[in-house]
């Protein structure tokens, strides 16, 4: 099946078998920040934004991506110019092994687009579909709240890839 969609702002054309999963197509397209941790929607490591909505690419068919705007962690920002969420994760000790981190930042981005001033409980709820085995989540919550404060303090700045609510 011929597909076309935007991936982190770039138009992509791909040819995929009907039964190919989105996570496999994305990784084939070198979006290696999209991880597979379970394949059954239980861990969130494969999280991406589809038209700004937090979804699990292991439970999407590649065919479902056609015509969509996709954002992965790399689309939020990069090392030279990190997104406030990414920088907050790094600065607040929210990263240990880092395998869950791309998916977590996607979940955080989706949250902050809808709720710019979440409580700690709001953050935990929003991230409850993303498993982390290393951190116990405490510093991840710290980081998301810090990112929220930073984003609130700079309303004119629209970070790259920030989703519309």
């Amino acid at each position: 099946m011929k597909l076309s969609f935007t991936l982190n702002g770039t138009l992509v054309r791909a040819d995929a078998d009907p039964d190919m999963r989105a996570v496999d197509l994305l990784r084939e397209l070198n979006a290696l920040d999209v991880k597979e941790g379970c394949g059954t929607g239980e861990c969130g490591a494969c999280s991406i934004l589809v038209d700004g909505v937090h979804k699990l690419s292991c439970l999407l068919l590649a065919a479902q991506l056609d015509g969509r705007e996709l954002t992965t962690a790399a689309g939020l920002g990069g090392q030279a110019a990190p997104h406030p969420i990414q920088r907050a994760f790094a600065e607040h000790g929210a990263v240990q092994c880092g395998f869950c981190t791309p998916g977590m930042t996607i979940a955080a981005a989706a949250l902050l687009a809808q709720n710019p001033d979440p409580t700690r409980l709001d953050v935990r709820r929003a991230l409850s579909g993303n498993l982390c085995r290393c951190t116990g989540y405490v510093k991840i919550v710290d980081a998301v709240r810090a990112a929220a404060r930073e984003l609130a303090d700079a309303p004119a700045e629209t970070p790259a890839g920030e989703a519309d609510a």
């Binding site: 496999d24 290696l32 920040d33 991880k35 941790g37 379970c38 394949g39 059954t40 239980e42 861990c43 490591a45 992965t72 962690a73 790399a74 939020l76 920002g77 990069g78 090392q79 030279a80 990190p82 997104h83 990414q86 920088r87 994760f89 790094a90 600065e91 000790g93 929210a94 990263v95 240990q96 092994c97 880092g98 395998f99 869950c100 981190t101 791309p102 930042t105 700690r120 953050v123 935990r124 709820r125 991230l127 409850s128 579909g129 993303n130 498993l131 982390c132 085995r133 290393c134 951190t135 116990g136 989540y137 405490v138 510093k139 991840i140 919550v141």
Partner: protein, 770 residues
């Protein structure tokens, strides 16, 4: 590390936060073959069986399947194992657990692999199996390893100090208890995986998610009949491991596949279900304890029997049990101990290394009896612990004199003053409807390093590059604990350079030096110490090498500054990039080793151990849990959790807290949620929908406190704290539960079902009624 990374930021953090860091599978070449193991026990519901035959004809007919390998195709001994080599790479005669592999399929694509595996016809004749370690020790029990001298008993060992039996007979107060702890699944987010290629020069080049790249070579070499020094293993950052990637997982299978792949690269990645089926687990343990004390609470004697279910193969079963035994009597002064351990084979999933390594299992037992003692004597549980807490210079339960740092009492002191402890009565009284509140605490410890019998050594290499920055050749895998970042900090400090001037090479057996496994809380301590020496040597070398070009005759006047060597009196500076070009490469490299000190004059209290006994360095901790128990459902909610840790001096507070919080999180999961089940050796919790770990809604904000300490032998005075945090929650939560509902549960996990049953059985209603 990116230039300009702000100081204080963990070196790997930004690359990981932006999704730029590449883990093992991300690095696999595009033209890889795919390899997968056939583990027929699961589909056939057979945990123990004779392999009658593997019919590969249908599989070979699947388009894209390249070959099907069986035990007959394995060169070498076909036996892997870390210490005991008892685990076939491919089983030719018998499968001993439901995840045992009997065939390896190589295919051109993931889909062809899947179809090929599905098309294999394997004939397994069921054999009687044994799934309970006590049953396995009985006469006439089915043998897991037929013909093995010793039968199903892998090892019986004893630690005996003084005369415990007599002391217990005479003890004024005696408390007893039987406890059980379950298997636990590591559930690292990145499953077991790797890729490998047999190169034309005879090298086997492998990249694998492993905690022990240097040792892996020997495990692969022994199993496949290869020269270990012609095996190159690279270990990128791991997506979690916690012990489950210590010892060959994919390595031997992958090596075999590479040998048969005609020079093509091959990749193997265990899907989550396979990871749960075939990956190593924490040992389930049964514990029978007796503790005797004086009427004032002074501990006198402890006797216990520990039975570790090591599953189908030994892995590190003996070493796990050994460490558990060394900790079995708790971090307390006890003159008489008799600690008996039996490590037993069964046809259950393979038990192996898991953070807290045998100690997580004994912690709820010794702490459970301390609470029982406190209750019997009407003593405050915290005061009872302080009274008996080990102090520097004391002899621990194994008879080791603690010449290393001990700050357990200080940890307990922090809790004593903590508002969650001091305010506990009022908090419990204010329980909402249908809810019982409780507060509990626990004192825990965990040995660091390998102990005796095995050199706990690391060799660090530092290189001044032509560009004038430094490469640190990290030899110990960073599985997320941040040791690489710690090394970057140490090197920057020691060499007086900006953080951005230090780059890390992750473990690569060709470029780095053997330094043992990433385990046992040892990496920052042992490699860190080696690194400090290497950096000191580098500093001395650079100063003396700069003397000639700077025309300086007194080395004392030279100093290493960020980016250069400076002659302090005149201010003349030679940039490192310039100095580097004066030196041939082998003069720009410093290598130094460090060997962890061991207990001198070890006591003869330990019998039966080959390696491990005894340990000398321990991290200590005191934990507190505040819980709410729902009286209608038995669900336990952890409202607050405090972990106070003695890790010597704290090098990086954020990394320190990460270990405490992460360990406690796994411990809370272990105590409450992670109900790993196998019946007849068949895993019932086979994927992440039933094999549960805590989500963000299942854990509180874990508060991590550090007591001031100093371990003089450690780099910057630190000692390893990677494991101790996991040991606290099971005992602390059991204590909190007893405080809440008046019943002490001794079988873990503390499931809602067990809690509800306990609530029903209470004779007198708790004073905190719903």
């Amino acid at each position: 590390m990116a230039a300009g990374t702000p100081p204080g930021l963990r070196a790997d953090a930004l690359a990981k936060a932006t999704g730029a860091e590449r883990f093992t599978l991300d690095l696999a070449p595009a033209d890889c073959l795919f390899a997968g193991a056939c583990r027929p026990g699961k589909a056939l519901n057979i945990a123990h069986g004779r392999v009658r035959g593997v019919d590969a004809s249908a599989a070979l007919a699947v388009p894209g399947v390249v070959c099907v390998l069986t035990a007959a195709d394995v060169p070498g001994t076909n036996l892997q194992g870390i210490v005991h080599k008892d685990q076939p790479v491919l089983c030719g005669e018998v499968i001993r657990h439901a995840g045992d592999p009997v065939a390896l399929v190589l295919a051109e694509s993931a889909e062809a692999l899947r179809r090929g595996l599905a098309a294999l016809r394997v004939d397994i004749e069921p054999l009687p199996g044994v799934f309970d370690p006590e049953e396995a020790l009985k006469k006439g029990a089915p043998l897991v390893h037929a013909g093995r001298e010793g039968g199903n008993l892998l090892l019986r060992a004893v630690i005996e100090k003084g005369a415990a039996r007599a002391a217990l007979k005479n003890a004024p107060v005696v408390v007893r208890g039987e406890f059980s702890t379950p298997m636990q699944e590591h559930a690292f987010l990145e499953t077991q995986c790797g890729f490998a290629q047999a190169l034309p020069d005879g090298t086997l080049d492998m990249t694998v998610s492993t905690q022990a790249p240097f040792r892996d070579r020997f495990e692969i070499g022994h199993a496949l009949g290869l020269d270990p020094l012609k095996i190159r293993i690279r270990a990128p950052y791991l997506g979690g491991a916690f012990g489950g990637k210590d010892g060959a997982t994919v390595q031997c299978l992958l090596g075999l596949a590479a040998l048969k792949a005609g020079g093509r690269p091959v990749r193997m990645a265990w899907e989550r279900e396979e990871s749960i089926l075939a990956g190593y687990k924490r040992h389930a343990v049964r514990l029978r304890y007796t503790l005797g004390a004086d009427t004032d609470g002074t501990l006198l004697a402890l006797s216990c029997r520990l039975t570790y279910d090591t599953g189908a193969y030994a892995h590190l079963g003996v070493e796990v049990m050994e460490l558990g035994m060394e900790h079995a009597a708790g971090p307390y002064r006890i003159p008489h101990t008799f600690i008996e351990g039996r490590c037993v084979y069964t046809n259950n999933p393979i038990a192996g290394a898991f953070r807290g390594f045998g100690v997580a299992q004994v912690s709820p037992a010794f702490e459970g009896l301390m609470d029982a003692l406190a209750a019997k004597l009407c003593l405050d549980p915290l005061e009872l612990r302080r009274k008996n807490a080990l102090l520097p210079g004391d002899e621990n339960c194994s008879g080791v004199v603690l010449t290393s740092s001990v700050r357990l009492d200080e940890c307990l002191g922090e809790l004593a003053a903590h508002p969650l402890w001091t305010g506990r009565a009022a908090w419990c009284e204010a329980a909402p409807p249908f809810t019982f509140r409780g507060v509990g605490l626990a004192a825990v410890f965990n040995g660091m390093g390998y102990g005796r019998g095995l050199p706990d050594m690391a060799i660090a290499k530092v290189e001044l590059t032509e560009a004038g920055d430094f490469l640190v050749y990290n030899s110990v895998t960073d599985m997320g604990q941040g040791n690489a970042a710690a090394f970057a900090i140490l090197a920057a400090q020691e060499l007086n350079q900006q953080p951005g001037a230090i780059r890390l090479v992750q473990p690569d057996t060709e470029r780095c030096h053997p330094s043992g496994s990433s385990s046992a809380g040892r990496t920052t301590y042992t490699y860190g110490n080696a690194l400090l020496r290497a950096c000191a040597a580098m500093r001395g070398k650079l100063l003396s090498r700069a003397a000639m070009p700077l025309f300086v005759d007194d080395l004392e006047t030279l100093t290493l500054i960020p980016g250069g060597v400076r002659h302090t009196p005149s201010g003349r500076t030679m940039p490192l990039g310039v100095l580097a070009r004066y030196l041939p490469r082998d003069d720009r490299i410093s290598v130094a080793e460090f060997l962890m000190p061991v207990a001198q004059n070890p006591p003869d209290t330990g019998r039966g151990f080959q390696i491990g006994f005894p340990h000398l360095f321990f991290a200590y901790g005191a934990h507190l849990a505040r819980i709410e128990v729902d009286g209608l459902t038995g669900r336990v909610r952890v409202c607050d959790y405090v972990a106070v840790t003695d890790g010597g001096r704290v090098l990086d507070r954020s990394c320190f807290d990460q270990q405490a919080q992460g360990g406690a999180a796994q411990g809370i999961g272990y105590a409450l949620i992670e109900d790993f089940q196998a019946r007849g050796g068949l895993i019932q919790t086979a994927d992440l929908s039933t094999c549960l770990i805590p989500t963000a809604l299942d854990l509180p904000d874990i508060e991590s406190l550090a007591v001031d300490g100093d371990e003089p032998t450690g780099p910057r005075g630190l000692k390893g704290v990677g494991e101790v945090g996991l040991n606290g929650p099971a005992p602390a939560l059991a204590a909190a539960l007893e405080d809440a509902v008046g019943v002490r549960l001794r079988d873990f996990p503390l499931t809602p079902e067990r809690v509800l049953a306990a609530l029903k059985k209470r004779k007198t209603p708790s004073r905190r009624r719903a």
